[in-house]
Symmetry: D2
Subunit: 286 residues, 4 copies
Amino acid sequence: MSEKATFVLTITCPDTVGIVAAVSGFLTQHDCFITEASQYGDPLSLRFFARMVFSEGALTPPPAELKMLFSLVADRFQMIWNLYDMAIKPRVVVLVSKFGHCLVDLLHRYHTGQLGIEIPAVISNHPDMRSIVEWHGIPYHFFAVDRHDRAGQEERVAEMIERLDVDLVVLARYMQILPARMCAKLAGRAINIHHSFLPSFKGAKPYHQAHARGVKIIGASAHYVTADLDEGPIIEQGVERVDHKATPEDLVAIGRDIENVVLSRAVRWHIERRVLLNGGKTVVFK
Amino acid sequence: MSEKATFVLTITCPDTVGIVAAVSGFLTQHDCFITEASQYGDPLSLRFFARMVFSEGALTPPPAELKMLFSLVADRFQMIWNLYDMAIKPRVVVLVSKFGHCLVDLLHRYHTGQLGIEIPAVISNHPDMRSIVEWHGIPYHFFAVDRHDRAGQEERVAEMIERLDVDLVVLARYMQILPARMCAKLAGRAINIHHSFLPSFKGAKPYHQAHARGVKIIGASAHYVTADLDEGPIIEQGVERVDHKATPEDLVAIGRDIENVVLSRAVRWHIERRVLLNGGKTVVFK
Amino acid sequence: MSEKATFVLTITCPDTVGIVAAVSGFLTQHDCFITEASQYGDPLSLRFFARMVFSEGALTPPPAELKMLFSLVADRFQMIWNLYDMAIKPRVVVLVSKFGHCLVDLLHRYHTGQLGIEIPAVISNHPDMRSIVEWHGIPYHFFAVDRHDRAGQEERVAEMIERLDVDLVVLARYMQILPARMCAKLAGRAINIHHSFLPSFKGAKPYHQAHARGVKIIGASAHYVTADLDEGPIIEQGVERVDHKATPEDLVAIGRDIENVVLSRAVRWHIERRVLLNGGKTVVFK
Amino acid sequence: MSEKATFVLTITCPDTVGIVAAVSGFLTQHDCFITEASQYGDPLSLRFFARMVFSEGALTPPPAELKMLFSLVADRFQMIWNLYDMAIKPRVVVLVSKFGHCLVDLLHRYHTGQLGIEIPAVISNHPDMRSIVEWHGIPYHFFAVDRHDRAGQEERVAEMIERLDVDLVVLARYMQILPARMCAKLAGRAINIHHSFLPSFKGAKPYHQAHARGVKIIGASAHYVTADLDEGPIIEQGVERVDHKATPEDLVAIGRDIENVVLSRAVRWHIERRVLLNGGKTVVFK
C-alpha cells in the first residue's frame, strides 16, 4: 500500500470575508485531510496569507485536476497561489567562496536526510571546497573570478544556475554580489546569509563593525536576495551575547555558529513552503 | 458609530476531515470576519485544537443566538468549545505572600491597560502588600495562616475566591499549597509561577537547588495548578544564563525578572484565550 | 562587632608589566582581602582595566590614608582610578516622561533594597508619574516644556540635577534630548535606555522602524549619554524574538520588558562600579 | 624572530590574603607579561580559583625552571596547579556511535583550525562514521559491542585510549556507558554531551521525555563524566524554544544544533584551560 501523498498549498490575496471557508470547503469537498493550517491577515497591507498542508483521500482527484479545480476558487479571491507535492524534493544549488562552515553544515543535514532536498551542484569562485563537496557525491563547479572580466564569471555562474533548473539558490557565504538581472530572475528563490544582525552593519566586515561599535550582542540574518545589498526580506535572525573581551576574530568565530543555524532554518522553512513574501517583509508560518 | 464586537472561539475535538471547513463556513455564513485563526492536530492524541478570532458583521446574530446556532456544528464534531466576547474583561484575582515582584509587575500592567483585566481583589497570607495594592484602588484581603488551623485559612481564601466570581486565579509567588479540592475546582483557571525550569528543581528553594547542582542556565515556569505540586500543564518558561560567581541570592534576584515576564505572558495568553489543555500539556496559539 | 568595610577600586592605565603585581601587592601589604578581581588588557588600544573588591583588615589604614598611599602606586602607572566605599549609597536621580514602566521597575527594585541606591528625586516634563513616585516617599519635580522656551526647561532640569549632587542620572524613557553642555558635564554618569538594538533604528519610533524592516528579533540598549544621540558607549543590550504577526504596538509592549531588564542591569553594574569606559565602548566586569 | 611563548597557569587553593599578590609578583619578577587573569573565591567552599595567561619576556626562565620556581609559591598556599604551554596542542580522542552531528561539527572546527587540538583517533562501536573521519586523515577504530561480552569491548576501548596518551576524551553522542574504573581514571578529562537541560530528563530518550512533559524550552548539557550517569559537573548548557507543534522527532532535530554548539564550547574551554573543578561544579573563566 502506498502512503498518501502530502501537499502544501500557499495563498496570498486581498483579505476579505470567506477565504478560509472557501479553501477549507474546497479541500473537504475533495476529500483532503488538513494536517496543518496557518493564516495571517496583515492589518496594514490588508493582504491575507495562508499555508495549508493536507494529505489526499480516496476521492481526491490527481494533482493536475485538483489544481485546475482550485484555480476557480483562487480566481474568485485574486489569489497568488502554489500547490506543492511534498514528495518531490526541491533542487537547491549552493554557492560558496572560501568560508566553508555554512556549506559543511548544509551538506551534513543533506547527507543525513534532515533536509529533504536535492543538491545538483555546488558553485564556487574558489577551488577550496571541491574535496568535501565531492566526498558527498555532489558535482563542484569552480568559476574563477577574473578581475578584468568580472561579468564573464557572473555570466558563467548564471548559465550554470539556469541549466541546473533549481528551485532555490543558497548563498552560503558567497562573497560575490549577484548581478541585478540575476537577483530579479531569482526573486524569492535565492537566500543569503549576512553575518550581522540586520539592519545593523550592512556591507563588508560586519563583525569588525560590531566590534568597533562595542555591541553586547551579535547576530546573523538570512534574507531573500534583492538587488539592494542586504536589504532583502528577512527570513530569520539569530543572536549571541558577547563581551568586551571578544576580538573581531572571536566575533567571527562566535558568528559562524549563529550563521549555520540561521541559514539552515531559513532553507528548511523555504523548502517546506513556510515563507511567504509580504512586500519587503516575510510571513513565516513556523 | 460603535466599534464592531470581537469574539474568540476556542475548540477541542477529535481530529477528522472537515472541521475547519464547517467552522469557517459557519462563520462566513453568519457574516463574521475572521481576523486570526490557529489550528493544531495532535498526531499522538488525535485531538484537534483551534482558536478563531472574528468580528461581527451587519448580519451577525447576537451572541446568544450565535452560540445556539454554533452548538449544532459543535455537536456534530463532539467539540468542547467556548465563545468569548472580548469586550468583557476577565476577572482575575491575585494571591501573593511576601515577595511582591510578580504582583507589582501585574499591577503595573493592569494599571496602564496593557492587561485587559479586572482585578476585583488581591488575597494574601501576609499584610505586607496592602499599601501598594490599595494605591491601585484594589481591595486587599489578608487571611493570616494559623499554624494550628491551616485548613481554616484555606477555607476563608476559598470562600473569598468563590464569592468574587473569578475567571482566573493567579498565584504570584503565593507560598501556600492550595487544597486538592480547590485545585480541582479551579482546573485550567489557576496559574502558578514556579521559580525553576520545570521539571528540574520542584518544591522548595529551587534557586538553592540550582546553585547546588551548578547549572549554567536558570529558569521559571508558569503552569496551571493541579493537585500534584509543580506537575501541572506548563504554559510558558523563560531562562537566563548564570555563571559560577552567582550565589543563591544572585540567582533569586536574576530569577525575579524571569518570573515577571513568564507569569505575565501566561496570564495574557490565558485571558486572550490562547491556551488550550491537551492532557497534561498545553497548546498555546501565540 | 562591626562588619568590615568593603571597597571597590577601579583602574584604567596603559598596559605594561607588573600592574597586577603592584596593585595586589599594595593591597596585601595593607591587610586588604581581595574578594573579587577582574582585569582586561585591550590588545587594540593597549589600555589596561581592572576592578578589585576588597574588605579591610585589622591593619588597613582609614580610606583617606589608603587613597593617599595608593596614589603613589597609581602615579607610577599613570592610572585613572577611583576608590569607592560601598557603604555609601550612590545618589541616583531618574528622569522620566510619560511611559512609566522603567521608572516603576526601578522604584520597585529600590523599594525592596535590590538596588543599593538613594533616589533623591524624580524629574519629569510631565505630571503623570507624581503619585506613584510620592507613594515611594521620593520628591517629584515637574518642569513643563514650554515650546517657545525649550532652553528654559532644560536650564531648570540642569539646575536641579546640579543642586541634588547626584552620582548618576538615569533617563528612564525621558523623551527629551539633553543639551550638549549637560551631556559633557555628565559624561560617564548618565545612562539612557534606547528602545532598539543599537546601532539599528536610532532616533524616533524605533519599534515602528523595526516593524517596517520586518526584523525577527527586537531589542533595547542601555548606553552612556553623549551629545551624539544614541551613539554613546553601550553598557548592555537585550533582545526578544518576534514574528510577522506583531504589530508596532505589540513590539512596543514586548519591548517594555526588555527595556526594564536592560536598564536595571546597566544601573546596577554602574553603581557596583563594574563599568569602565574604553573610548566609545565599555568594559563591563560582570 | 620567534614569537613569544604563551602559557596558562591554573590554580586552586584555600582562599586567603595575598594569593594574587604572590602569584602576580612571581610572574612580574620573572619578566612574564600577564595578558589575561581571572580569579574567583567561592564564599561557600572558601576555595580560591585562578587562571592566568602570560607570555614570556627576555628574562623568563625556561618552562621547567619556571615550574620549579613556582612550586615554592604554590606550596606556601597549598595550591593544586598546572602550567600549560599553549604551543603544545592537546590530544583529543572522540568517541561516537551512530549520530554523527557532534563529530562532524568537531571535525570541521578541527579541520579549519578553529580548535587548536590534535585528534589522534576516533573510536566507535559502529562502523558508520569511518569514511568521513578518514577523509579528515584521522584513524578510525571500530570496536563492535558483543552483547554477550560487553566488558570485552569496554576493555578494548580503554586500552586504545590508554595507548593514545590523550589529554581529553570527548563523548560526542557515544551511546555506551563508560565503566566506573575508566570514569575514575579520566576524572576531569572526559566530556559528555547529554541531550537534555540537566538535571531534567536524565537517562534515555530525553527529548521524548521533554515532549511528554510538554516543556516550552529544550536544552543540552556538556559535563565531565563521572560514574554517576548524567550527574557530573556541568560545563555548559544551551537552550532553544519549542512549542506544542514539535514532535519528539522535531525536538531531536532542534536539539542537534544545541548539542553541537554546547559541546564544542565545552571542548574549547577545556583545552584553553578555562574550566576548573569545584566539587561537583565547575568554575568557567570565559
